[in-house]
Symmetry: C2
Subunit: 426 residues, 2 copies
């Protein structure tokens, strides 16, 4: 593969026009859309309208006139096709952590105290584990963590209440087989909760087709909703009305404006809403979702997935060919990976991952770093992590990123002092 | 009082220049800042910068460079003087309902199962009751509701864990004596939780001086943070590190970027953070808080309170003089009211409150309506509710609002069919 080959792939890419819908910074190769998605060009004007017209001029009238009150379900309906759900099943609200808290309580309430064990991965994104720890504590249950997915089947027993997994792993980019694991869980009488933080907008997701039970996910990664965008929650309709979630705020009430002193949950997914929707964040996220609707005519998520796999494949092949120190931890098999590539550096470079990422950022190649466990560096090494958002990433970006890495290593540019100091947020 | 008298009061008002900092709609008298505060003129440009520069151009770098990660505590520090707290004690995060859930759990955890009764008012804002019901259920406790504040002292006994009150009542505008009730609660061994939704930015609040235990409040009312602005939470420092709140998300961890699988709460108020801060909402709220800092030179909250009392007093005196059907439910005594005036209409107009509010809105006088309990209309009548934000409300606005009401009643304009249909949000 040459740079011209990569440029040729971009010239032939039917999805290439989608990049024009994003305001990407000049001179940067942005490969961190799995941490914070890029800015859709439509967003500033849409948020300006929400502020100046809807808030500034129309004020409280906008709850009805601008549809603020319906935004959590309206955005949920627009998001639903990306995750294999139907309109009316998804709610956009709160943060991923808080939504996970809701569905974990709901799932354990469905098990009616008969089963109290929650199974997850020790390397799951920490907030999922912290929230699960809190919820199992409230139910007098137990959180059981596996070191490898291979250990999961043996734990799906008559004590298992919930299998809680992040669909695409935040460190490695490894993707679980949602349908298979859900089937195994159901055969054992357990329920499944899927965290789609690194899936929604990145890979096709089929919640209903997988017969999943609950899902949550993030608005500010591949959905490009902006920093701290509201998150989402999905509950299989068979569980609505039977499950109980404890964040029983007024907007989850059947009649919020009747101001009754006693709580009566709304029918449907609305009962998962708690407080007032964050209107500005909703306006921004709606622009992120609109890009996906525009991509429908170009093949939608199936086409985006094909491009994502091509990008991550190109990146991995170039890495293997040109960076012998790279140890790729992301699965090569397409069905087992999401839309990112992570690798460690071997030998004497194994501790240099942070500085190498900083040196790359210094050259305009934005990826990120995820620390390993220093006590068990072989099992969990420091990682360089690169996300490939098919909406706006070009083949030549993947190619150039590897070239920059080759240069950074060849020149030992990462040894410069300014690349050693850790920022507050890494 | 004549209209010229009101204009003269405005001409002499040292706080009058603050109105220039708001983008108020032409031709409206906006008396609903207790529902949604008006737009500060600085906000659109600040949010545009957050979107285009911080998000669009700097992307993930902004977590450090633009201080996104510190926003919850930075805004908390700016808010602290308005509620009698110190820097480092307040966190801006999530919604009022969710923050109330955190502090209710924390307060009950401090009582260590010895006391499980939570006392509140039946007419408290419903979300507070719904959340309290959920939390007492989790602790095997009991929520006891009083119909009148007079009943509270008798309930502060050896079973009482928490006295949970909204400082300024959302319907009547009646203000509790925070210091006195907190002292009574403490004498009985109970803790206090204060919902400052209708207090912060409206009346001087002295949490530390009152020795209160916990407080929560809203960013989108008198703080002018915009629709769905993030809320705030305060915990007295004596309780930090001892109390437990279950929304244990990663950003409340002592070392969130160490990605440890086990939760260890951060020291201080940071442990009340859960997920990622809503950056756009934070940027908007910061502009709302800046207005109060600018008001410091003009006398700050003390001067704002004096003006607020003058406005509500003027409105009540005009109402009494000119609208014989008005039954004011807001206390006339200054120490017992917040920054709003609520009243019902007597006799055959008692059911017309909604239509009258709509007719007033049709004339540009924006207040709102709060339904009473139709089964006990004497005790809890339908209310017309008007908020007087001293930052931007003029004496002449209060005067003119009464004149419009006189006209609406005299012409029976409220009987027009378009004013009868209830909106989704009232």
């Amino acid at each position: 593969m040459t740079r011209d080959d990569a440029l040729r792939l971009d010239a032939q890419d039917p999805l290439a026009p989608l990049r024009e819908q994003f305001a990407l910074p000049e001179g940067k190769i942005y490969l961190d859309g799995n941490s914070l998605g890029a800015l859709p060009k439509a967003t500033p004007e849409r948020v300006r309208l929400a502020i100046e017209q809807e808030w500034g001029t129309d004020l409280i009238e906008s709850w009805n006139k601008a549809g603020w009150i319906d935004a959590p379900r309206r955005l949920g309906d627009r998001l639903a096709p990306l995750i294999g759900a139907r309109p009316g099943e998804v709610l956009v609200a709160d943060s991923t952590s808080i939504n996970l808290y809701k569905v974990l309580h709901a799932a354990l309430s469905l098990q009616q105290g008969q089963r109290k064990k929650v199974v997850s991965e020790r390397s799951n994104f920490p907030t999922d584990l912290y929230i699960a720890d809190s919820v199992v504590r409230a139910h007098g249950g137990e959180l059981v963590l596996v070191d490898s997915p291979d250990e999961i089947p043996a734990l799906l027993d008559e004590r298992c209440a919930v299998l809680m997994l992040t669909h695409v792993h935040y460190r490695t980019g490894r993707m679980h087989d949602m349908a298979l694991l859900t089937r195994w869980a159901h055969q054992a009488g357990a329920l499944t909760i899927w965290d789609l933080a690194h899936s929604a907008g990145a890979v096709p997701v089929d919640l209903l087709g997988s017969a999943a039970d609950f899902a949550v996910g993030c608005g500010y990664k591949y959905l490009n909703g902006g920093p701290g965008a509201p998150a989402f929650v999905w509950v299989h309709p068979r569980h609505l009305g039977l499950s109980y979630q404890p964040l029983s705020g007024w907007l989850g009430h059947a009649q919020p404006f009747a101001f009754n002193p006693f709580y009566q949950p709304a029918a449907g997914i609305q009962q998962y809403q708690c407080g007032t929707p964050v209107v500005l964040g909703m306006a921004a996220l709606e622009c992120g979702l609109a890009v996906f609707e525009g991509a429908q005519a170009l093949g939608g998520m199936a086409a985006l997935r094909a491009k994502s796999l091509a990008l991550t494949n190109l990146f991995m092949e170039e890495l293997e060919a040109r960076v012998p120190e790279a140890r790729i931890v992301t699965p090569r098999e397409a069905a087992q990976r999401g839309s990112q590539v992570s690798f460690s550096l071997s030998g004497e470079l194994s501790g240099a991952a942070y500085a190498v990422v900083q040196a790359l950022i210094g050259r305009g190649v934005v990826g990120d770093y995820r620390a390993g466990d220093p006590k068990r560096l072989d099992a969990e090494p420091h990682l360089l992590r690169f996300g490939f958002t098919p909406l706006y990433t070009r083949h030549v970006d993947a190619f150039d990123a590897v070239q920059h890495l080759v240069d950074v290593l060849a020149t030992q540019a990462w040894k410069a002092p300014q690349f050693q100091t850790q920022n507050k947020v890494t």
